[in-house]
């Protein structure tokens, strides 16, 4: 198991390098002058030149690339142009909020999505299946901010069950949960739709497998066949796809945070955008790219935990 873990992590290194190179290329080779974008059309030539020097944009591309990679190797993602704080400090200050929201969404998605998906698969093509499929497709069709706005309209503005602006009092757990509820429900709804869809199709594949028939032949009962034999195998692709979905989940949490005015990575990005904080944006991009690559590796490792065939290969 330890060897498998190491091997998979080693595999992440070249991918990480590639991802960082892609970020660099995107940031530098894209037509357009970052200095011009930051300072606007009215800026003087001197000011533009000064900013280019400050950002290191006046140096040859290979040198910039090496600087960029060197920084990342030292764990340096750069500093915010506006606040002067390191990107890490900015990220660490808000990441607990985003993490809490994302984990709550995954929890809700698995809690409701897996049973719904199994239910739909078992009743394939019957009415409950059709309804479940329509629900999950509708859930996936909402852009996250649309469903967030709708939830806000109904539950915070019309019914006044939850606060419109998420600003929990420190130390008050109940108040904290009340503030988390709507944003988490929003992301959880989309996650549920997604998990339902994936579980259903994966379960349908597994139910046709020979070993499910073998299990039925043993006379161990329908529930044991379904939950012990079929579901465990069906969850293997579900785990993978949920892992791959992490990127979209982060994107959705950004939108959700904006709608519910919640602190987190979303508001950090939005602030950087509004203030044209070019270096913070680039640092965040590196951060996200790294996060995604690691999440992919973690997904594979989780895969190995569920499926013994992967672990022993």
């Amino acid at each position: 198991m330890g060897e498998f873990l190491l091997r998979r992590l080693a595999l992440a290194v070249p991918t990480l390098l590639l991802a960082m190179t892609a970020v660099f290329l995107l940031a530098r080779v894209v037509p357009g002058d970052p200095a011009l974008v930051i300072l606007g059309d009215q800026a003087t030539q001197e000011a533009l030149l000064a900013l280019r020097v400050k950002l290191g944009l006046d140096r040859p591309l290979p040198a910039q690339y090496l600087d960029f990679l060197g920084g990342i190797l030292r764990g340096d993602l750069g500093r915010s142009l506006i606040t002067g704080k390191s990107v890490w400090a900015e990220v660490l200050a808000v990441i607990p909020y985003t993490l809490e929201l994302t984990l709550a969404a995954i929890f809700l998605g698995v809690l409701f999505g897996v049973p719904l998906g199994v239910y739909a698969a078992v009743h394939r093509n019957a009415l409950p299946d059709t309804l479940t499929r329509l629900f999950s497709l509708a859930g996936l069709s909402f852009p996250a901010f649309v469903s967030a706005v709708l939830l806000l309209l109904v539950f915070a503005i019309q019914l006044r069950w939850f606060p419109v602006i998420s600003a929990p009092r420190a130390g008050d757990v109940l108040d904290h949960l009340r503030n988390l509820a709507l944003p988490a429900a929003n992301l959880g709804l989309i996650m549920t739709a997604y998990v339902t869809r994936v579980t259903r199709s994966s379960m349908l594949n597994v139910l046709g497998e020979d070993y499910v028939r073998t299990a039925r032949a043993k006379g161990i009962g329908r529930r044991a066949v379904l939950w012990r034999h079929a579901l465990r195998n069906a969850l293997i692709p579900v785990a993978t796809v949920v892992g791959l979905y992490l990127g979209t989940l982060i994107g959705n949490s950004v939108l959700t945070e904006i709608v519910f005015n919640r602190p987190g990575l979303g508001k950090l990005i939005l602030g950087a955008l509004n203030q044209r904080d070019y270096t913070l944006l680039q640092g965040l991009m590196v951060f996200f790219a790294g996060l995604i690559v690691l999440a992919n590796a973690a997904t594979d490792i989780a895969y190995g935990l569920i499926d013994p065939r992967v672990r022993y290969r």
Partner: protein
């Protein structure tokens, strides 16, 4: 010869598509949205840009069935005209992503070796990178404009096209007719154009219909964040943003464009699902 359905679609897919009621729902929804966009001025002849400060934030009435916004502009007229922008940006960005993405995928599959390995692992990262964040970064670098929006969304959707073009290319490359063509001295380009591209087309089209939905969603999300087409042009995402700013006074402002996006994206997803199931009924990987 037994051809894998993944490469050569089984015959009778039109029949399977027609037999699926949910695909028809998708077709109907999309047709309605496209018609509304095309006939916007005919259906509702008010000017989407005309401001009327006296009639700000009015609740729905007969004169303004969906009310008016902060500048007293008619929301229904804006909704209909916004459909054009959303569909145009979606279509252009998908066309761009489809062309470039498929080319990358075919090149990777056809050339193989280290190039393929590099492209594949890059695609894996790109595919799992949040569409929204990537688009957001690109627009932030390029500056917001309609053209840049198209480029940004196209970049976010290269990966699925490259991936769907790559796998069958590898299969086809090993097939007799391509090998034979190579033995006869045909150029690689000719082999790709004559033998490979026609075989990829159906799958690429399915991917396009599914990702068009994502493109429209991304455009709306970027507009909502404030990185979309510049005001006063109406877009759905921009309208939701404006409605969101007045959500306590005029909740209907955000509602109408929200439903418009939902209908469009749901329609495209239903259509794409129907197409996919029809072309490859074995791989119902929903």
């Amino acid at each position: 010869m037994s051809a894998p359905a993944a490469v050569l679609p089984a015959r009778g897919w039109t029949r399977r598509f027609r037999a699926n009621p949910t695909s028809w729902l998708g077709v109907a929804l999309i047709a309605a949205v496209v018609l509304a966009a095309l006939l916007a001025s005919t259906i509702w002849p008010l000017d989407p840009l005309e401001q009327n400060v006296a009639e700000r934030l009015m609740a729905p009435t007969a004169a303004h069935p969906l009310g008016t916004d902060t500048f007293g502009r008619d929301v229904l007229a804006r909704l209909l005209h916004a459909a054009r922008i959303s569909l145009l940006i979606g279509a252009f960005s998908i066309a761009l992503a489809m062309t470039i993405g498929s080319a990358i995928g075919i090149a990777a599959g056809y050339l193989g070796g280290w190039f393929d390995a590099a492209v594949t692992s890059l695609l894996d990262v790109l595919l799992s990178f949040p569409t929204l964040l990537l688009g957001l970064m690109v627009v932030a670098m390029l500056g917001p404009s309609m053209g840049n929006l198209v480029i940004a969304i196209a970049i976010t959707e290269l990966a699925p096209f490259a991936r769907v073009a790559r796998a069958p290319t590898i299969t086809l490359k090993g097939r007799d007719f391509v090998e034979a063509g190579r033995a006869l001295g045909f150029s690689d380009l000719r082999l790709v154009v004559v033998h490979i591209i026609p075989n990829l087309l159906s799958e690429v089209v399915v991917v396009a219909s599914l990702w068009l939905a994502t493109a429209i969603r991304t455009e709306a999300s970027l507009s909502f964040i404030g990185l979309g087409v510049k005001p006063p042009t109406a877009t759905w995402g921009g309208m939701i943003r404006e409605g969101f700013e007045n959500i306590l006074d005029a909740p209907w402002l955000a509602l109408a464009p929200s439903l418009a996006i939902l209908v469009t994206v749901l329609g495209l997803n239903l259509l794409g699902d129907g197409l996919r199931d029809a072309i490859d009924p074995r791989a119902r990987r929903d």
